[in-house]
Every structure is written in C-alpha cells, then in structure tokens.
C-alpha cells in the first residue's frame, strides 16, 4: 500500500464509523427532535449537518477535484459528476444515502487503486530481467559496481554466481550454467564456456564468469525486450480503439440522459425531487473507467503472459491478429526442421556393421569441412587419430577417396561409385542426401543425411489446426522432393518448393488475398533472410532469434527459443486475452445498461449505481489479471 492509499483507508474507516453512529442517532435520538419548527424543517437540517461530517471526511478529495475541475472546464470529470450526484441526493433530503454513496464510491476507488497497484506490481515482476548494476573490471583488475548504461562496448565484466548478465557478450573465463527462464520460458539451464556468446537477462549459475561486452546496454537483448514490452501498449488493438472512442461519447450521452431525466418527466408527472434523485444515479454510472482500465489491462496481461512463456508480442494489435489466424505460413529450414544436417540412416552391406561403416566413412571424411562430412563425424562420435588415414583425395562434386587402416575407402555420391564401376544399392529416400561408401572396390553401404524435422513440429502443426487455423503452408527454397517429404512428415496442408526469396513474398501475397475477409495470415521464419515476408504478412513471427537484432526489428512476434510449439501456445494466450477483454466489455456494458434502465424506472438507487461504477471496475480488473496466468 502506498502512503496515499493508507491515508485514504484511514479516512474511509473514520467516516464509516461516524456514518454508522449517525444512522443509529437518526433512528433513536432523531425521533426526539421535532420534524418541523414553524416552517423550518428542523430535523432534516440537523441531520444534514451531521451527515455532512463523514461525507466531508471521506469525500474531501472528490470535492476538491470537482472544484478544481470546474475551474479547468472539466465538467464531465468523474469527481465532478460524483459530487453533483451526492449533492443532488442531499438536496432531495436523502442525507444518509448521499453520505453512504460517497463512502462506497471511495471504498470502490480504494479497491480499484489497490487492484491496479497489484497488477502494476505483477507487470513490474516481468520486467525484473533488467540488471541493476554491472561489475566492471578496471585496469587494476578490481571489479567496481557501475550502472550498466555506463559500460562501453568491449569492457570486461565479472558475473558473480546468481547475478544477472547485464550486457550481451562473450565468455572469457569460467564455465557455468545459465538460467534463461526469464527470457525463453525454458527451465533447462544452458551451459556456457569460454568463447560462447551470452545474452543479457540470463541468470548465472554457481560459478563466476568474466565476459567481454559486445554491445552497449541499450543495444543489448534485455534493453530491447524491455523497450518492446513497454511500447507494446502503444500499438493498440481494434478492441482498445473501439473502447477509447466509445468512452468519449458514452459520458456525454449518459450525462445528457441525466439532464433529460431530471427535467422532462416532472413536467408531465410532477414530483421534481424523485426525478432529480433518479438522474443522480445516471451521473454516477456515467464514468467509463471500468472499460477504460480493464480492456488495455487485459491486453497488457496477455502480453505479459506471452513474454513469461518466451514469446514477445510487440503490440496488442498482434495479439488480436493471433487470435484470428486463418493461415500459418512457415519457412522450412530452421523452423520446421532443425536446420542442421544429421545422419538419419546407416545401411551397411554384409558383412560390415553400422559402427564399422560409420568408422570408415568418418575417417575418410575427416579432412573435409563440408556440413555432410561434419554430420558423419558427429554420428561416429569418437576422435579418429590422423595417423590411420593417408592419401586423402577430394573429388569436387563427387566425394572423397582415402586410405584408412591400409584399406582403400571411397565415400561420395552415386556418380562417384558409377565412375568406378562399383555395383551398389540405390536408396530411394527423396528427403535425404545419400553418401555411398565402397571399401577396396566393393560396395560397403550407404549413409543417409538429412535436415531433421523438429520432434515437436508435427504436434505443433496438428495443434494449430485443432485451434482452427484453416491451412498451414510451408514455403521453401529447397528441392521439391525434400519439401514434399518434410511436408508429409509434419502434416502441413501445402508445400511450395524451389522458391527464390522474392518468390516467397509473391506467394505470401497470394495467401493474404486468399485469407482476405476470413482472418489473419502469420508467417513463421528464423528471420535470417525472410525479413520481407515477415513484414508483409499480418503477423510476422521470428523464432530462434534470441540476440538476432535484425529479426527482433522485423518481426511482430519474437519467439525466444526455436520451439515451433510456442506458436499454438501464442494462439492460445491470444484467444484467452481476447475472450477476457470481451467478457469485460460485455459485463461492464450490461451492468451499466441494466442499472441505467432500472435507475430511470426508479428501481435501482444510488447504491446500485456505485456498484455499476466502481464495483464493476474492480471485478473487471480482477478478471483482466487472469490474462497474466497461463
């Protein structure tokens, strides 16, 4: 609780006690005072003055603001309307009600303030990735605590165990485990050693590190993320814009309704006091605060929940689009697949074993830097002494020849074996690159290498379809046979292959046209060379781009790790946020409309009106905070 809130609470309690004393007094001692003395309404005036005490105590701030508001020409200000409504109640002789309404209004405001403060607190917690200081190592070798913003690029920083990495950099000394949960939502720690790049916002494990900074603080990942989350509310969704426009007309209309209600019906049916009293309920309901707070708060909560899950959404409008996805267009390499080559099949010919085949192939390829050679070496997994290999000879576009343990090994594509007239078993695996191996002139087997489809890709695509995405399309520059094989494995509806980067934009435009009137189109890519498509689609989603500035710049949604399963998760969060925002709009409007009607009919009094104002706001805020949880 802030100081101001404590003061407010004390006032409410004091006024509440006095109010109840007055009520008791009115019902007991009140009877002893004559109702009128001559023509003077004695009892009413005495209790008016008595109720004025708690009213003044609890309502002072409202009255003060109302007076200041009139001075500034702010006649439709909430405080002014509240003051007017309660003064109207006093004028019609409803002393206790006027006082009670002010009291309950302030209690409602207090809760509203408290709830907003709580939500601000939970949002601030999300922002706790911001480093407070950096341990700068000076020339004398001693560390000094400085503001991260004052650290020049290329400085040496000490990261003690448990501290946040303040600035992006490279590890110089030390080995440790980094907790990236605050950035990626991933709870498995990442191990780092000298030479590895580290990202600001990660929390160091239990060993000290020294790093050399590569950037300034303001260009570091953590600063970029914070700026993005803070600015996210500036890009407003259609729902928020609607509420802002609605709020602008709502208050004047309800106030006009109040004026009409106060003066028109009495012309026909008389009873001026009763109609003024009813008009006062209108004035109390006329504040649009419940809507104006709760809808943006819902979106903010949704953005907060996404960032907790390692999904950065750059604006409420993108959250809205995510909830309305008609098509998801994805890149292949690095998005649906791992983006690295791995050995996926080893087929030795008799009498060789898989291990032996891999050994010979890996040994023969040991001099090569080709990604395929690297994949074979990795599959073999053990270091091979160079002394066992001799006479390695590369054949460009064919493969490699080498002598391993005195045996003549040949590893390469089909053409290499055919040229040497070696009979072999052809492998019909369209998505694979196949390396054929021959030993001493005889066929020894084949090794298939492919870019592995991510284990969660098929599940993620199925989940997207379950969530109502009509079509998932894969765009790739790769060969058609590879594209089709991956498409089949992952379960995408359509695969468009052999595309140049500029073709991808044209293709995306066609898909956008297709979806016009149906919903939004999202593009998912790794952000490396698909920036134009990322920008062209309704929602550009970059993934696996932690620390990649270009992708963070171009995309609307950034997935911090490279898990495609985060996309259905983002859709779910977006849907939930939209649902809660809608619930709040419908709930607030329905309650307000109901109380307006009942108030006009004289059924609902000022009490109900106060509930329709601050009570609804508090409930809507609490509902909006559900967006933060997932």
């Amino acid at each position: 609780m802030t100081k101001k809130q404590k003061k407010e609470l004390r006032r409410i309690i004091l006024a509440g006690i006095l109010f109840f004393l007055m009520i008791i007094a009115e019902h007991t001692a009140g009877k002893l005072i004559p109702e009128v003395s001559g023509t003077f309404p004695l009892r009413r005036i005495i209790f008016f003055l008595l109720f004025l005490i708690p009213y003044g105590i609890v309502g002072f701030s409202v009255l003060r603001k109302a007076v200041l508001g009139i001075g500034h020409g702010q006649v439709l200000d909430e405080s002014f309307l509240m003051a007017l409504a309660t003064i109207g109640a006093f004028a019609t002789g409803e002393n206790a009600e006027a006082c009670a309404v002010m009291l309950f209004y302030q209690i409602g405001e207090f809760f509203q303030d408290y709830a907003v403060g709580k939500s601000r607190g939970s949002i601030r917690k999300l922002m706790e990735i911001a480093p407070e200081y950096a341990n700068l190592i000076g020339e004398d070798g001693n560390a000094e605590e400085v503001d991260p913003e004052d650290v020049p690029a290329g400085s040496i920083l000490l990261i003690k165990p448990g501290e946040k990495i303040p600035i992006d950099g490279v590890v110089l000394t030390g080995e440790s485990l980094l907790n990236t949960a605050a950035l990626t939502g991933e709870s498995v720690p990442r191990s780092v050693r000298p030479g590895d790049a580290v990202i600001s916002g990660c929390i160091n494990g239990d060993a000290a590190l020294t790093i050399r900074t590569e950037k300034l603080y303001e260009d570091s990942t953590v600063a970029k993320i914070l700026e993005m989350v803070e600015n996210a509310s500036a890009r407003k969704s259609r729902t928020e814009n609607f509420i802002t426009r609605f709020a602008k007309v709502y208050t004047p209309i309800v106030v006009a309704g109040a004026v009409l209600l106060a003066f028109v019906p009495p012309l026909f049916v008389g009873n001026f006091g009763e109609w003024i009293h009813r008009a006062c309920t209108f004035l109390v309901i006329s504040c649009p605060c419940a809507l104006v707070i709760s809808v943006p708060l819902s979106f903010f909560g949704g953005i907060g929940a996404s960032s907790k899950a390692g999904i950065l959404v750059k604006g409420s409008n993108y959250l809205e689009q995510l909830s309305l996805l008609d098509q998801v267009v994805t890149d292949k390499t690095g998005t649906l697949t791992e983006g690295v080559f791995r050995v996926t099949s080893v087929e030795p010919a008799e009498p060789l074993t898989k291990g032996e085949l891999l050994y010979f192939a890996a040994a023969a390829e040991s001099a090569s830097t080709h990604p395929i050679a690297a994949a074979i070496r990795e599959a073999y997994g053990k270091e091979i002494p160079l002394s066992r290999i001799s006479d390695a000879e590369m054949r460009a576009g064919r493969g490699i020849l080498a002598t391993v343990d005195g045996r003549h090994v040949m590893a390469g594509n089909e053409a290499l074996l055919m040229e040497s007239g070696i009979a072999h078993k052809g492998l019909n695996e369209p998505e694979m690159t196949v390396v054929y191996v021959a030993i001493d002139g005889a066929y020894a087997g084949s090794i298939g290498i492919s870019d592995v489809v991510k284990s969660e890709a098929a599940g993620a695509v199925r989940e997207m379809k379950d969530l109502g995405v009509r079509q998932v399309v894969m765009l790739t520059g790769d060969r058609k046979s590879v594209a089709d094989a991956v498409a089949k494995k992952v379960g995408v509806d359509r695969a468009v292959a052999e595309l140049l980067p500029e073709d991808k934009v044209l293709c995306a435009e066609k898909l956008l046209e297709e979806s016009a009137g149906r919903g939004a189109v999202a593009f998912v890519g790794d952000g490396v060379n698909d920036a134009p498509v990322l920008m062209r689609c309704d929602v550009g989603i970059a993934m696996g781009s932690l620390g990649s500035d270009a992708a963070i710049e171009a995309a609307d949604v950034v997935i911090m790790d490279d898990r495609i399963s985060k996309i259905p998760k983002a859709i779910r969060i977006a849907r939930k946020t939209m649902r809660i925002a809608r619930e709040n709009i419908v709930f607030a409007l329905a309650v307000k409309a109901a109380i307006l009607i009942l108030g006009a009919l004289g059924i609902a009094g000022l009490w109900a009106a106060v509930f329709a104002d601050v009570g609804v706001a508090v409930i809507a805020i609490l509902n909006a905070m559900r967006c933060l949880r997932n």
Partner: protein
C-alpha cells in the same frame, strides 16, 4: 526526438486517455502517449522545443488530473 517521463499518482485510466489527447493537441508535439499501467509518458517533439514545451505539458496535465505529477 522521443522522451520518456515517469508519472506519479496517475490513478484513473480515463484521465490518462484524456491527458494523452490534451498533450497531442499542443503545438509542437508530434506524438504523445500516456501509459496508465507503466505510469510513463512518451512525448515526441523537436528536441529544441522540449524546454518550452514541458511547462505547457505540465499545465494541461494538471487541468485534467490535478493529483498526477510529472517527474521531470
């Protein structure tokens, strides 16, 4: 040139929206946003004009929401 300011005692979301609208109307302000949740105000204007602009911003904000203070 964009500048950020912290706000104190910004209690009402509707007032934040009103403040934003009022600041946007000031001569020399290119863009303004008042964030009720983070209690921050961002103003885009020509750098040279900030010095003369800020007192005006403070004035219009005080009109809308007398309790709210801009931490300059």
């Amino acid at each position: 040139m964009k500048k950020k300011f912290n706000l104190e005692d910004l209690d009402c979301a509707n007032c934040a929206a009103k403040m934003e609208a009022a600041i946007k109307k000031l001569d020399g302000v290119e863009d303004a946003s008042v964030n009720f949740l983070t209690q921050k105000m961002t103003i885009t204007a020509d750098e040279a004009r900030f010095a003369t602009l800020m007192p005006e911003v403070v004035k219009v904000c005080a009109k809308v929401e007398p309790d709210c203070r801009i931490l300059l």
